[in-house]
């Protein structure tokens, strides 16, 4: 089984994010592997370890993605491709999906595993659109993957009213929830080995496509500006005698907030 895992480099959401004049203030930001992609990497590596799958990652994005690719290597991914092209700055989910489609078609994979969304955009679209472009079956928000035979996997997904059990014919695309696993921390030996591995870096031309062909020249949507959200402020916090303050708060809920 050949697995393709997607990897995006994104802003660290644990840090403070400031907005000024419609843009995000770059100063003080740090960039990390998308958290949901860590789950995708872990799921792929588990399939390598338990089922002998061959694992390849694909990272798209202008700039240096070496650190996150090496981290995925250290976690156990075997091969890596980085599509680095300045034409990608305004790419939307559809453009990413078209590029992934090109990579997929060159490699003939059995299973594509993506994180269910990227923590910078929170769109949650790319993997699903990729499946649509490829005409492959797809399940999103997956919390377990079980290999049934060479042509089938069984996945469970968190749906609206419970856990949905779906059998997928391979090749297929799944997008994973962070509930699927606990991503491993790379060990020293893995980190040392990862440093020696090569990363195949390509631009769109080397991939055999162009900005126009992947829709990069005319994205379907684009961000006009960033806006600082209306911050919720802390209100009244009560400390002291628990019976007294609890009664006080219930009174406020009823008579000030009028929620009872």
């Amino acid at each position: 089984m050949k697995i393709l895992t997607t990897l995006k480099k994104v802003v660290d959401v644990e840090l403070n994010i400031k907005v000024k004049n419609g843009a995000i203030v770059e100063e003080g930001l740090q960039y990390v592997m998308n958290a949901w992609d860590e789950n995708a990497v872990e799921a792929s590596v588990q399939l390598k370890e338990n089922k002998g799958a061959e694992t390849t990652l694909i990272s798209i994005g202008g700039g240096d993605n070496t650190d996150i690719i090496r981290k995925a290597y250290a976690m156990g991914i075997e091969n890596g491709i980085h599509i680095d092209d300045p034409a990608l700055t305004k790419a939307d989910s559809f453009v990413y999906a078209r590029i992934l489609q090109k990579v997929y078609e060159k490699g003939k994979y059995d299973l594509v595993i993506t994180g269910k969304q990227a923590q910078d955009t929170d769109n949650g679209q790319t993997g699903i659109i990729l499946a649509q472009y490829l005409g492959l079956p797809c399940v999103s928000n997956v919390i377990s993957i079980e290999v049934m035979d060479e042509q089938h996997i069984k996945v469970s997904r968190l749906g609206d009213v419970g856990t949905e059990i779906v059998e997928l014919e391979l090749p297929a695309v799944v997008t994973v929830s962070d509930s699927i696993n606990q991503p491993r921390l790379p060990v020293l030996r893995g980190i040392m080995m990862a440093k020696k591995k090569t990363i195949k870096v390509m631009d769109l031309a080397t991939l055999g496509t162009s900005k126009d062909e992947v829709g990069g020249a005319a994205p379907k949507s684009e961000i006009v500006e960033f806006i600082a959200p209306e911050a919720r402020k802390g209100g009244q916090k009560f400390e002291g005698d628990v019976a007294e303050i609890t009664a006080r708060v219930v009174d406020l809920l009823a008579n000030e907030a009028k929620v009872f």
Binding site: K233, G235, V259
Partner: protein
């Protein structure tokens, strides 16, 4: 006049409140409205669909549509969108919506925006507002295509009182089943529960409850208030609460009238799932817990002490 197609949110045979909310917003921006309802034995919901504010009802009613399957559902939406000539296609905030919307957009070559909190026309061009980066920023997004497929964030739009529509039923032909992604079973843990997405009051329990006894204690408060009972990630990971109860960016996003966070520290992923609530009360023994920074009311105290008093005081004030 713009045309907005709303996907009816039906859970276990019941039409959810999001449908009227989305149709109300569509009417408020002057659009012609239609709704598409997909499922099995749903024709009896047609009066509800009309009352929710739709002027045309596309109905895909087939035994094969009883269990949710993204492929056939997206075919139904695409069919209705084409027949109606929809400029915008809106889903309520649900897992099914989030997985079907990008498929529909790809099939129609339309733009796709998830999690929108507002939508407007700038001349002929559609713009939306949506949160990103774990709710730390909002984006204003310009849509370059004629058509937009959107998933609307829970609680973003209010239903207009007294809204109604006209009955004009169009039956859709049954879609082919997805033979490559066969839904075998839905393990519904939710029967009899109050749906978090619909509840007026949501109470969530966190790590501070420690174990099952703590969870049960907080659940009694939820029962008293007929509240939806949610959870932080920690209690799901600990096996004390089921996955579908998790409130947060990666679980359910809720926007009730009152949200009560009990024993929850307030990690950003959790806050992202509840900060749209009208009023927030937090109970936590750590006065420095970040949850207090987003709460309208805070009680600093041990939940094992506070919850029984809370129950008694609420009973008193309600009687």
């Amino acid at each position: 006049m713009a045309k907005v197609l709303v996907i009816a949110e039906i859970k276990q045979g019941v039409l959810k409140g999001s449908t009227a909310q989305l149709l109300s917003k569509a009417k408020a921006i002057g659009a012609e409205t239609a709704v598409v309802a997909i499922g099995s034995n749903i024709e009896l919901l047609i009066p509800n669909l009309v009352n929710a504010g739709s002027d045309t009802q596309y109905i895909a009613d087939d035994p094969g549509l009883e269990l949710f399957s993204a492929g056939p559902y997206s075919s139904c939406v695409v069919d209705a969108a084409k027949q109606f000539g929809a400029d915008m296609i809106w889903f309520g905030f649900s897992e099914s919506g989030k997985t079907v919307a990008p498929r529909v957009a790809a099939q129609l070559s339309a733009a796709c925006a998830t999690d929108i909190t507002d939508v407007m026309f700038k001349g002929d061009q559609i713009e939306v507002i949506r949160p990103a980066i774990a709710n730390k920023v909002m984006q204003r997004v310009k849509v370059n295509t004629k058509q937009l497929v959107a998933v609307v964030r829970a609680g973003a739009f209010d239903a207009t009182e007294g809204i109604s529509g006209t009955k004009n039923v169009v039956k859709l032909s049954s879609p082919a089943p997805d033979l490559k992604a066969v839904i075998r079973q839905i393990i519904s843990e939710a029967s009899g529960d109050i749906d978090l997405a619909d509840a007026n009051i949501v109470i969530s329990v966190g790590r501070g409850a420690k174990d099952q006894a703590g969870v049960d204690l907080v659940k009694e408060l939820a029962n008293d208030l007929e509240a939806g009972f949610g959870s932080s990630r920690a209690m799901v990971d600990g096996g004390f609460m089921p996955h579908y109860k998790q409130v947060g960016q990666t679980g359910k996003i809720v926007a009730p009238t009152l949200y009560i966070a009990i024993g929850i520290s307030g990690a950003i992923q959790h806050v992202a799932g509840m900060k749209g609530s009208k009023v927030i009360l937090a109970v936590n023994k750590d006065p420095e817990a970040p949850i207090f920074n987003v709460s309208d009311y805070g009680i600093v105290g041990d939940l094992f002490e506070v919850v029984p008093i809370l129950r008694a005081e609420i009973k008193k004030i309600r009687s």
